[in-house]
């Protein structure tokens, strides 16, 4: 599934707008490290090393066969694993490292795909809530629905999403 985010990332990479690219992914990097380390105060250290590794990749002008988003998550995976293995996390990723679209489960996925088999209206409600961050009241106003119907759709979507996330994770 192609996504507007991936297209915009490709444009930012091509035009060298690295600050904007890092600004997009900084909260993802930090929050994923906090989650992976279960809230340990080391999480920001690991996140800093992830950013350094990405910086070295960007500075080296590397190009990738997968969306930059996948590169970010692969570097996080790698760095977190090294942290738990007790290895140094502040060294560059190995020369010649290249994330592949074949060996990752992140590449083709976006959260919308996890709720794809919900009824269309539920899917629309869930996407507005979980992807755009709209409140139930805002969704009701935008879609011309009763608030109760929005709450029920969100409940179904939450159950589905939680099952899908648990299966995926």
């Amino acid at each position: 599934m192609s996504h507007a985010r991936d297209a915009e990332d490709a444009r930012l990479l091509a035009s060298g707008e690295y600050a904007r690219l890092l600004a997009v992914y900084d909260p993802v990097i930090v929050q994923r490290c906090v989650a992976a380390l279960k809230g340990s105060l080391d999480a920001e250290d690991v996140a800093q090393d992830v950013k350094l590794r990405l910086y070295r990749e960007l500075r080296g002008g590397k190009t990738y066969p997968v969306p930059f988003r996948v590169v970010v998550h692969k570097v996080i995976d790698w760095t977190v694993k090294e942290y738990f293995d007790g290895r140094p996390t502040d060294v560059p990723v190995p020369e010649g490292w290249e994330p592949s679209s074949e060996d990752d489960s992140i590449g083709p996925m976006y959260v919308e795909s996890l709720i794809a088999d919900l009824p269309p209206r539920d899917r629309e409600v869930a996407a507005l809530h979980l992807v755009e961050g709209l409140s139930p009241a805002q969704i009701a106003a935008r879609l011309g629905m009763h608030r109760n119907a929005v709450d029920q759709a969100l409940h179904r979507a939450r159950v589905k999403l939680r099952e899908a996330l648990a299966a995926h994770g």
Partner: protein, 182 residues
């Protein structure tokens, strides 16, 4: 009492989607025994959810980081604050002895330079109020090391006019505020 993990996840995910920086550690604490389950849900979610567009602050902080400058200092500058004003605000907020202003300034410089982590909740909260950002953002605002260093290296040495804080004397109120969780 621990809160329902599904509700916590939903609240966290929607706030993240809005471009906020929700304090994940606080959510994990609220989950109680379901802490690990919530952490797994959030981590998987972050792999799959499209990140929100960054605001101008976030881009300016990334630019500072790329230049090797201190993002916290860049944020302070964006707020039109001098370091002395932040120091004064901290002295006032915590009713510190004004005679210890120099020490507060040295400590705060170390925080900006990434040499000291502001782990005390009350200090994070004060800096967040002064700089107008979520407290959970501040620990990640560290400069990019300018050359290869060991993992614990955080930034260049402080300039000669701001000597590092001596830690051999018994800790006073300023030390207790700035030193990492003990």
């Amino acid at each position: 009492m621990a809160e329902d993990v599904g509700r916590l996840f939903d609240e966290y995910a929607t706030r993240f989607a809005r471009g906020e920086r929700p304090d994940l550690r606080a959510y994990l604490d609220r989950a109680g025994e379901a802490r690990d389950e919530l952490a797994r849900l959030v981590e998987t979610w972050l792999c799959l959810a499209p990140p929100p567009e960054p605001d101008e602050d976030a881009i300016a902080l990334a630019e500072a980081w790329l230049r090797g400058e201190a993002p916290l200092a860049a944020l302070r500058a964006r707020r039109g604050l001098r370091r002395a004003q932040v120091v004064e605000a901290l002295i006032e907020r915590f009713r510190l002895d004004p005679a210890r202003r120099g020490k507060v300034e040295r400590y705060y410089h170390e925080v900006e330079a990434g040499l000291r982590l502001p782990a005390q909740e009350r200090l994070l909260s004060a800096l967040a109020d002064i700089l107008g950002v979520p407290a959970s953002l501040i620990p990640s605002l560290r400069p990019r090391p300018l050359r290869a260093q060991a993992a614990f290296f955080r930034a260049e040495e402080p300039p000669p006019d701001i000597p590092p804080v001596e830690e051999s004397a018994p800790p006073d109120e300023v030390d207790l505020l700035f030193r990492e969780r003990e």
